[in-house]
Assembly symmetry: C2
Homo-oligomer: 388 residues x 2
C-alpha cells in the first residue's frame, strides 16, 4: 500500500425528505445564490422547495449552467456573487452544476486571473490562489459523478476540459435524496451508472498495490452497480435500487477507494476530448473508451484484470487471456445492457476523426497518461482505433 | 436503506515516516499536551520523536492513561489542560489513549460536572454541554479500535464502561504509520484483529436493509482481516500485512460501513461488563461473546448469517442451519487461530459469575440490547451460558 493522505469533511444527508436540513446547515444570516442547470429543477418545483427551506434569507438564482460547464458561464455567476455579496451557494443539480458551483466558489474572490485556476491540473488550489472561497451546499438530482462528496471539478474552456482540484472545494454538505432523481431521463440514469462504474475501475484496474480493503471495496461498488444498474434504469421509481445507485456513485469518487493505490484516469482524459470535439455525453464517452483501453492495456493490467474477472464477474474457468477477454466482453455487455453504446461508429464517428482527437490530446499535454504514465499519443490512438 | 447522516472530518496521514506532518498540522503557537499510556511510547523513543517534530512549541506530557481509561485519571489531565492553558493535545497510543484524550478534550472546559458527560450514552454531546473543546491529533500505535477516525470513546468509572459520543471529538488528524506498531506484544495485535472483526460484524450481521455497498464493504473488511490477521500476528514486521491490518481497523469503525444500516452493539456492551468485572482484555471479551451471541441470535440474524456464510466464508453447501453452524464455527476458529480464546472457562471463569454480570448489565440499563432492542437480561444470560 502506498503512503496516502485522506480528508473529506463533506456532511452527507441521505434519504427521503431531507430538504429540511437546509435551514440548519445554511447560516441564518447568509445571502444565498442558488445555482442550477437547464431548468428542470425549476420546472418541477424543486427550486421553490429549496427556497421555502431557506425561509427569510435573501436568495438569488443563477440558472443555465450547461453540461460540461463552461468558464464563460461560470464567470457570470462569480460576478453576481461579488455584486450581491453572496455568502453561501446552493447547487441544485448533478455533476455539472456542482462542478460549476465549485469553480464559482474558487473564482469569485480569486486574486489573479480566474482563468489561471484551470491550469493547475491535479495540483490542489490553495487560498493563496483562490482567495476566500464561498462555501456551498448541494441538493443532488443526478447520481453519477461523485462531485457531491469530493474536492474536484471539470471545467470546459474553448475545446478543452480541465480538472480543478482544491480542498477548499468540498461541499459543506450534500443532500442525497434518491426520490429527487426519479424524474431523470433514462439515458442520464444509465450514463450515471457507467460513470460510477468507470470511476471505480480507474482506481482499481491498475497494477496490484496490495491494498486489500480498497480492492474489496471497489469490487463491492462494481458488483452493486452490476446488480442494481439495470433496475435503476428500468424502474425509475424503485427506491431501493435508486438509493443503492446514488450511494454507489458517491462512494465511487469520494476518495475512500483511492487511498494508497495507483490510479489510471486515461479513460476520462480521452473521453473529455470526445465530449469537447464530438459532443458525446460524458458517460457515453467512458463506455466507448474504457473497454477499448482495457483491451489495449491488458499486459500492464494483467494481474488486476484477472482479479476483476474472478471477483467481480465470477469467471473462474479458461486460460488467463480467456478470462480477461470474457471480463472485458462482460463489461461492454453491461454498458450495452443499460442502453449505452460502446463504439464510436455507433455515434456515426468515422476513423478520420481519430487524428483530430490525438491532436487535442497533444495540445492539452495528455501525452503520458495512465498509472504508469506510458499511454503516449500512439497508445491513445490504438485505444481509439479499438473503440471504433 | 435507512435515511442517514454521515460526517467525518478527520485528516488521515497513512504510511511510513509521517511524523513530519505534525509541524504543519499543529498550530505554530500551540501549547501542547502529549498524552500517552503505560510508557512504552516513552521508552522506545516515540515521544521524543513527536516532541522533536513539535519544534519550539511549549510541550507538556501526561502519561499513565490506563487500558479502559478511567474518569479519575483523565480528570487529572483536564486539570493540567486548565492550569497550563493547553490549546492542543497529541494522543500517542492506541484506543485507550485516544478515547481518554477525547474525554479530556470534552471535559476540560465542561460547564457542569464533567462526570455528567458519561450519562449521554449514544446521544451526541454538543458544545452546550462540553463548552469549548481542546482540539487534538493522534499518533496511532495500536490498530484495533478505530478511535483514531471516529467521534466515540468508552470511559470507565467505577465498575462501569460508558460510551461518550460527540462530533466535537473527532481527531483533527491521525498519523497511521504501521511501523510504529511493529513492537506491540502479539496478544495486543491479535486482540486488535478481533476488535476490528467484531466491529464490522456488529454493523453487518443484523437484519437485511438492502444496503448493498455497505454490505459488500463490510464483507471486504472481514475477508481482509481473515486473510492478513494471522500474518499480522505471526510476522510483526511484515509491513504489507500490518498496513492492511491498520487500515482495516480504521475503516471498520469510521462510520462508512455504518451508514443506512441497523447496528447491534450487544457484544460490546456485554463484553464491557466482562472487562470491568473480570479484568479480561476488551478484544478477548469480544472473541468470547460474539460467537455465542451469533448462536443465540441465529433466528433474528438468519438472512445475514447466510449471506455472511456464503460471501465471507465461501460456504455454499448444506442446509441453512448447517451453513450457519459452519460460519459460526469458522468465526470461532479464526479467533482461536490468532491465539485468542473464545470461552469464559478458558479464563478460569465459572458459571456462578454469570448472575453478577447480569446484575451489572441491569445496573447499567443494558436490558434491551441489539438492533431490535430485544436482548433482554434473559437473552444475555443465555449468551453468557453459551460462552462458558
Amino acid at each position: 500500500m502506498f503512503n496516502f493522505d485522506f480528508y473529506n469533511p463533506t456532511k452527507i444527508f441521505f434519504g427521503k425528505n431531507r430538504l429540511d436540513v437546509i435551514d440548519k446547515q445554511v447560516p441564518a444570516n447568509a445571502i444565498v445564490l442558488i445555482t442550477y442547470g437547464g431548468g428542470s429543477a425549476k420546472r418541477n418545483g424543486l427550486i421553490d422547495k429549496v427556497k421555502a427551506n431557506l425561509g427569510k434569507r435573501k436568495v438569488y438564482e443563477f440558472g443555465g449552467i450547461e453540461p460540461n460547464p463552461h468558464y464563460e458561464t461560470l464567470i457570470k455567476a462569480a460576478e453576481i456573487v461579488n455584486k450581491k455579496n453572496i455568502t453561501f451557494m446552493l447547487a441544485v443539480g448533478g455533476g455539472s452544476v456542482i462542478d460549476g458551483t465549485k469553480f464559482i466558489s474558487l473564482a469569485s474572490h480569486c486574486k489573479g486571473d480566474s482563468r489561471d485556476l484551470l491550469k493547475y491540473g491535479f495540483r490542489l488550489i490553495t487560498s493563496e490562489m483562490a482567495g476566500e472561497v464561498v462555501p456551498f451546499g448541494v441538493v443532488l438530482t443526478l447520481p453519477a459523478t461523485g462531485s457531491e462528496m469530493n474536492n474536484g471539478a471539470v471545467i470546459s474552456d474553448g475545446h478543452g476540459k480541465f480538472p480543478v482540484m482544491s480542498d477548499l472545494a468540498f461541499p459543506e454538505f450534500s443532500i442525497l435524496d434518491p426520490t429527487l432523481t426519479f424524474t431523470l431521463p433514462k439515458i442520464q440514469v444509465a450514463n450515471g451508472v457507467v460513470d460510477a462504474f468507470v470511476h471505480t475501475g480507474e482506481q482499481y484496474i491498475t497494477y496490484p498495490a496490495d491494498a486489500k480493503v480498497q480492492d474489496r471495496m471497489a469490487e463491492g461498488i462494481l458488483q452493486t452497480l452490476i446488480e442494481i444498474g439495470p433496475i435503476s434504469v428500468a424502474e425509475p421509481e424503485n427506491y431501493d435500487a435508486r438509493a443503492n445507485h446514488v450511494w454507489s456513485a458517491t462512494m465511487a469518487l469520494n476518495g475512500i477507494i483511492a487511498v494508497g493505490v495507483p490510479q489510471d484516469w486515461a479513460t476520462h482524459m480521452i473521453g473529455h476530448e470526445l465530449t469537447a470535439l464530438l459532443g458525446i455525453d460524458h458517460g457515453q464517452t467512458l463506455a466507448i473508451v474504457y473497454p477499448a483501453l482495457l483491451e489495449v492495456r491488458r499486459e500492464q493490467k494483467r494481474a488486476k484484470l484477472l482479479q476483476y474477472a474472478e471477483r467481480v464477474w465470477n469467471i473462474t474457468k479458461g486460460t488467463e487471456d480467456e478470462k480477461i477477454d470474457m471480463a472485458i466482453r462482460k463489461t461492454r455487455e453491461f454498458f450495452e445492457s443499460l442502453g449505452v453504446k460502446t463504439h464510436l461508429s455507433q455515434y456515426g464517428v468515422t476513423a478520420d476523426k481519430i487524428p483530430v482527437v490525438i491532436e487535442q490530446l497533444r495540445d492539452h499535454g495528455m501525452t503520458a497518461l495512465s498509472e504508469t504514465h506510458d499511454i503516449t499519443l500512439d497508445v491513445s490512438r490504438k485505444i481509439l482505433e479499438k473503440a471504433m
